[in-house]
Amino acid sequence: MAEDCILETSGLVKEFRGFVAVNDVNLKVRRGHIHALIGPNGAGKTTCFNLLTKFLEPTRGQIRFNGIDITREAPQKIARRGIVRSFQISAVFPHLTVLENVRIALQRKLGTSFHFWKSDRGLNQLNDRAMELLTAVDLAGYADMVTVEMPYGRKRALEIATTLALDPELMLLDEPTQGMGHEDVHRVMELIKQVSANRTILMVEHNMKVVAGISDTLTVLARGSVLAEGPYAEVAANPLVIEAYMGTEASGLASIPANDDRPPGPLPGEGDDHGSLRSNSGGAG
């Protein structure tokens, strides 16, 4: 089982009018892992997600999910197979209530989604399950609020609850902690760890503390290509990675500051030891 691959890409390429955003990416995501995808801004992480979920058509290459070739499938089909993604820009239904947001995800299984002649009161049978999911992300108290009125961090949490509602085999999270305050980051990190119990997670994450804290495997992407892959400690010591991030060989990934509210972007090179592997084992301090 150790070698069991849930998702595998071979020679994945995406070109935008000659510009190569994703270049020959061979990704192997192991079942049950939390797999982090990192890299400087513009490295092609979001494009990769768009290819994997078929929101974009690959120029070349192949994607296999559980051994099945899904390269030519439609995005909604991919979702129904069990690959559910979140988006970098918070993806909620802003003018529906928080409860309705989660219910939309649960609703498809009822098989009544085309029934325009039926009352939507029939959807109330999903409320209990929706409340369970909201409780899991600490949003039970917001259930009846119109989503647009919630603070940003809460919207991201709602997004995770909505994604979880489909009970996906593989969950793709694009910068789940982006723009969050210290407390929220810690909570979302714990949440991801908790929900990873019986599923696989592939996530783009800029916060090194989160990456070091919960990921089993790490893939570093730079200018569309895979630079390094492996466990955090191994990757952090890789000179290629150090160079890509720092532009210098003097300091390592281990010396990247891991401030929770650090804006996304090429990682800065201050020699603060705060975010090192060693000092990171304790989670949010």
């Binding site: 995005p75 979702a79 988006f87 993806a91 239904f93 989604s113």
Partner: protein, 312 residues
């Protein structure tokens, strides 16, 4: 329907039942036809977020089919109405299938282009009577009632309107309507949750086209003719105006918008002549610039502000 909407609906229905005692029934019937047309359009624009700029072709297409069925085939009135509705829904399926592949303004352009093509067909085809239209369509009878008596027909038209309005409300507040709202709010997210959004949009389009068709079919029976005007792009523009003026995405907005526009046109037609077009244009500009939520939308907002002030 929510309690407030149900109360308003029943009140409106009571008013409409009594209306022919005070107002010329033909005018009310005309208002009801256009109100249904605008409600059908609002289902698409207000609740699905799709701007069709060719909806007149469903109104006009159904008008011709019903006219032909009643006049040439001499079918019963109800069957004629049904034929027009089904034909419009089928045409909606064809135009919708082609248009939903595009987004936003391109969607609107495709609907306009296809509607223009069908309009040209109506202009050339022999069964429409070309420039003259189909004249002298018989109203027929219903369960022995002579529909050529205005007041008899009035209650049939009111029943059609009330039933369709109810169906539209039900659609909005159905499991299907919930997905339509999700698509309007965030289409990529709806896709990522496994919904085949194209199918939902297409069904919404077909429903909207069918109901717009029912409005056109009814109009033919009321006026005893079907002409090119119904299918013209001016009419497609008018329904946008009615919906925006009344309040898009509100339950009663399209009804209010249609009432205002039809009444104005009726009042002004013999007084200012072709200036009517200019006045409609001015109303449109004022509506877009000054009160974007439309009459009903702005009234609701004002009401909520007043409630809020009392509470605060």
């Amino acid at each position: 329907m929510s309690r407030r909407v149900t109360i308003a609906y029943l009140l409106g229905l009571a008013l409409l039942l009594a209306a022919p005692m005070f107002i010329y029934p033909i005018l009310v019937m005309k208002v009801l036809c256009f109100a249904l047309f605008a409600c059908a359009f609002n289902l698409l624009l207000g609740y699905t977020g799709l701007l069709s700029f060719g909806h007149a072709v469903f109104l006009g297409g159904a008008a011709y089919v019903t006219g032909h069925a009643l006049k040439v085939w001499e079918l019963p009135t109800l069957v004629g109405l049904l034929a027009g509705t089904v034909a419009a829904a089928a045409l909606g399926w064809v135009i919708g299938s082609l248009a939903i592949r595009r987004q936003g303004i391109y969607f609107a352009m495709v609907t306009l282009a296809l509607a223009q093509m069908v309009y040209f067909l109506f202009l050339q085809a022999p069964f429409t009577g070309g420039e003259d239209g189909l004249q002298g369509v018989p109203r027929g009878t219903l369960f022995g009632l002579d529909l050529s008596v205005d007041i008899n027909l009035y209650y049939l038209v009111l029943a059609i309107f009330a039933g369709s309005f109810w169906l539209i409300q039900r659609t909005i507040h159905s499991p299907f309507g919930q997905i339509l709202k999700a698509i309007r709010e965030n289409e990529p997210r709806a896709i990522s949750l496994g919904y085949d959004v194209a199918k939902y949009k297409l069904l919404a389009f077909v429903l909207s086209a069918g109901l717009a068709g029912l409005a056109g079919a009814t109009k033919t029976v009321v006026f005893k003719f079907a002409t090119l005007t119904d299918a013209h792009w001016h009419t497609s523009g008018e329904v946008v105006l009615m919906t925006l003026l009344g309040g898009m995405g509100t339950v009663f907005g399209p009804v209010v918008g249609a009432t205002v526009i039809v009444t104005l046109q009726n009042e002004l037609a013999d007084k200012v002549g072709s200036l009517v077009t200019v006045i409609m244009g001015a109303i449109f500009v004022i509506c877009v610039l000054a009160f974007r939520r439309g009459i009903v939308g702005e009234s609701l907002a004002l009401y909520r502000r007043m409630i809020g002030q009392k509470a605060g």
